[in-house]
Amino acid sequence: MRTKKIIPWLYLSPALAVLGFFLIYPSCHTFYLSFFDRTSTKFVGLSNYIYVFSNRVMITAFRNNALWVAVFTALTVFLGLVFAVLFDRVRYEVVVKSIVFMPMAISFVSASVIWKFVYAYKPAGVAQIGILNAFLARFGISPVAWLIQRPWINNLCLVVVGVWVWTGFCMVVFSASYKSIPKQLLEAARVDGAGEWRIFWSVIFPLLIPTLSVLATTMIVFVLKVFDIVYVMTNGNFATEVIANRMYKEMFQFRNFGRSSAIAVALLLLVTPVMLLNLRRIREER
């Protein structure tokens, strides 16, 4: 389209101004601040970074984020795929898909309360009001303090909340690409005598791999920044700390702007490789 030179910039300027002010400038400034002390007055070199990568709580946070990345990503993607394929085979597909997808509309704060109630714990001998412990009690198993048992049970219990919310997202995306596979292809395999299991692994699964990789990267980028669930359910106590919650604490509780800037930069560094992968994919597609 031929236009005067100035016109495109008129359309772009609000976006450029907002992005410049809210994303580009502050990111650079945060990077700069990460080399200064808690009040941003004295230059301290790399000492904030040394803290970030050696402090005990920070290392717990990195470990937990790694756990989130591994377990959350694996479960959401795996269950999303399984549900998409399973639900496709029943007539009430729309209903069950809506049920699994519904938590996407619920905030993490509400989801956390919902699950805190599922995990509710009372000492043995008292009537359990959390459904999970009540279930155990039926079989004579003593109640578990799900959110306190460190380090694996409580962290996994938090991950489950995220999985409950995000599996529906993966399922919907898988379902769309599953349905776009030509049915003749599956029929042909059936005629050739392949069983359903074989068809899944040799025909369906390879065709879904591009979708799987997009979803996996999306989940990883998202979950590296996980905050709300941990903030509401445990606030990082009992060895459940994660990077984003630590950054919030350093900023508001300890008022150490140098350290919290360094944590933010560390988060950016973790996300960057995944971002580069995505950018390359976008460039290839254009």
Binding site: M1, T3, I7, P8, Y11, L12, P14, A15, V18, L19, F21, F22, L23, P26, S27, F31, F83, L86, V90, V95, I99, V100, A105, I106, S107, F108, V109, S110, V113, F117, A120, A127, Q128, I129, I131, A134, W164, V173, A176, V214, V221, K225, F227, D228, Y231, V232, A244, Y248, M251, F257, S260, A264, L267, L268, V271, V274, M275, N278, I282, R283
Partner: protein, 286 residues
């Protein structure tokens, strides 16, 4: 004969598995819904599922929890605040992104591809990278703790995804439309209003829902820029502070949660089609 029996068996197993999954996903939410209508002493003494067993004295329902939560615990106020925050924070970025995506798709100008790539790259910048510098500016200019402040912040954070999705859609509109319109002498703004906007309604609808749910469910951005002040706190912030002070009063927490998820569930179920379409446009095409 055995083959038929096998088929019936495997169909039954399939239905059993699918229904089990649906129940598993639904049970936590049902627990919250039921509990929000039970009197406090019942909630503390027996599990919410006992109302289904029909044991006489545990089956009592009340609206009292909702009354307390709405008036005394500030959820009513927070609920309104959430709307005041969410509506402008949905519409402003959408408008700005439409202008930008239009220019990026259909105008030729210096550094167009680079600008687009930068905007897409910003998709993955963790918000944490921006908090400290922006909060400082907000504190100096009096925007901290105000609605316009958080509208602007959400505008900045929502823009990259909005521009990216709109770009994908608008750049795919047929070229002939633009050619014939500019031959007829229509100016760029006329083309924007008469061609781009009406044709982009589906993606605009998807994005509106996305951004609405995102802002409605947001906790972190509100915590940072609004602080804990009840005058301006949205419902997510209010609930997370109730978890701290009323952690064992499940009948109150569940009522608060249920109020908070009504609008998002309404939007979700009413417009699920657009929501799904938006997810697919954002993740598969991208």
């Amino acid at each position: 004969m055995t083959e038929r029996v096998n088929r019936v068996l495997s169909r039954t197993a399939l239905h059993a598995v699918v229904i089990f999954i649906a129940l598993l996903w639904l049970v936590p939410t049902i627990g919250v819904l039921v509990t929000s209508f039970r009197p406090a002493q019942n909630v503390a003494q027996s599990g919410w599922w006992t109302v289904f067993w029909g044991i006489s004295d545990s089956v009592r329902f009340t609206l009292n929890n909702y009354r307390i939560v709405l008036s005394k615990l500030g959820i009513g106020r927070a609920f309104l605040n959430s709307f005041v925050i969410t509506i402008p924070a949905t519409l402003i970025p959408l408008g700005i992104a439409l202008f930008a995506a239009y220019a990026l798709s259909w105008m030729r100008f210096f550094a167009r591809a680079t600008i687009f790539m930068i905007m897409v790259a910003l998709l993955v910048v963790p918000f944490q990278m921006t908090f400290i510098p922006i909060l400082r500016i907000f504190n100096k200019t009096g925007l901290a703790g105000t609605f316009p402040g958080i509208w602007l912040a959400h505008t900045g954070y929502g823009l990259p995804l909005a521009i990216y999705m709109l770009y994908n859609y608008i750049s795919g509109l047929p070229k002939e439309l633009f050619d014939s319109a500019s031959i007829d002498g229509a100016n760029t703004f006329y083309i924007f209003l008469r061609i781009v906007l009406p044709l982009s309604i589906p993606i605009i609808a998807s994005l509106t829902i996305f951004q609405f749910l995102w802002v409605w469910n947001d906790l972190l951005v509100a915590l940072i820029y609004l602080g804990g002040t009840p005058d301006v706190a949205p419902v997510t912030v209010q609930i997370s502070s109730l978890v701290g002070s009323y952690g064992q009063d499940w009948e109150l927490l569940t009522a608060a949660v249920f109020i908070s998820i009504i609008p998002s569930l309404a939007v979700f179920f009413g417009l699920q089609r657009y929501f799904v379409r938006g997810i697919l446009a954002g993740s598969i095409k991208g």
